[in-house]
């Protein structure tokens, strides 16, 4: 009886030890590394989802800004890219109040224009209308006015056509 009890106690102790070793080993070499790898990837994936969300929000906000800017500056970009030609400039001058405009090319993108106006105020109107021209036209510091008849002023002035880099006006 005593031997039996001794054997049972030994078996119990040994079993408990083996169970602990088995469970501990399985946990340390099997479950924990797999869980750690899975957990790290989950965190990375979630971080990426947050980053994408943040970028998407920023993109949406900037897209709205761009759309608003496009509304305001769409025409400006077109003006920069519009091909330039003197016939169209002369037509535009006539529509802006200049009579008999004569355009002489002075150099790359620079023109001397002679036209007849009823008064300096009409010429001033043309200068104001330069903002609505199909191109960016810059008035150079050169203006000559001659009274040729009552209500008739011959005015010579110089304009520079400013265009996007790489674009040259026709006939150059």
């Amino acid at each position: 009886m005593k031997a039996y009890r001794y054997r049972a106690a030994t078996e119990t102790t040994l079993s408990l030890f083996l169970v602990l070793v088995l469970l501990g080993g399985a946990a340390v070499w099997g479950v924990l590394p797999a869980w750690e790898q899975w957990s790290q990837r989950q965190v990375r994936s979630q971080q990426l989802a947050i980053d994408i969300n943040r970028l998407q929000q920023r993109y949406d906000a900037l897209y709205e800004t761009k759309a608003a800017l496009e509304n305001r500056t769409g025409m400006l970009a077109e003006r920069l890219d519009n091909p330039f030609d003197e016939t169209t400039l002369a037509q535009w001058m006539r529509s802006a109040g200049a009579e008999e405009p004569r355009i002489v090319r002075e150099g790359a993108g620079r023109f001397e224009i002679e036209a007849v106006f009823k008064s300096p105020a009409d010429f001033f109107k043309l200068i104001t209308a330069l903002d609505d021209a199909p191109w960016f036209l810059s008035l150079e510091p050169f203006v000559e006015m001659h009274a040729v008849a009552p209500q008739r002023l011959k005015i010579r002035f110089r304009l520079a056509v400013l265009q996007a880099v790489g674009r040259t006006d026709r006939g150059e």
Partner: protein
């Protein structure tokens, strides 16, 4: 011959408690194996997801960069347009201000305006008064370089006063 009716009970190899312990351990080990398989399989799925998200993030970042460049270019064009418009307005104002100074009794026949000054030619009732008016009003910006007058006709040349650097 003596008989015993009491059956001899064999001693169990494992006591009842130990048997339960080993069954429990086996169940836990199977569960652990299943969880390892789950983690491994799901980690593969998550890795594919990470790859997709990284590609999405890179695309989005590139689009954002493009959008920023486009906005910057639009702002440049807007600022350029403002600069040109302001320059034109300023130029027009410069000679417009000069013409505004011409009194009602003066008729201009010629007016030339350049960067370095301006010339006026015409008729007036009082040349000296006209000279005085322009010299006073334009003091600091222009100086009278020459003035010729005969029988009410005049020619005046003003030069731009250079700023001292």
């Amino acid at each position: 011959m003596a008989y015993s009716f009491i059956e001899l009970r064999k001693k169990p190899l494992w006591p009842k408690g130990l048997e339960r312990l080993w069954i429990g351990t086996a169940v836990v080990l199977v569960l652990m194996g299943v969880s390892v398989l789950f983690f491994r399989f799901d980690a593969q799925t998550v890795a594919a997801q990470i790859e997709r998200r990284q590609a999405e993030k890179a695309t989005l970042a590139a689009q954002l960069e493009q959008l920023r460049a486009s906005i910057a270019s639009m702002k440049d064009v807007a600022s350029f347009a403002r600069k040109v418009a302001t320059g034109n307005e300023l130029s027009a104002d410069r000679w417009g201000d000069l013409l505004d100074l011409v009194p009602d009794d003066t008729v201009l026949e010629r007016f030339e305006w350049r960067k370095d000054g301006f010339v006026m030619q015409g008729t007036t009732s009082d040349v000296k008064q006209l000279e005085q008016k322009f010299a006073t009003a334009l003091s600091g910006r222009y100086r009278l370089a020459s003035s010729r007058a005969s029988h009410g006709r005049f020619t005046m040349t003003f030069r731009t006063v250079k700023e001292r650097s």
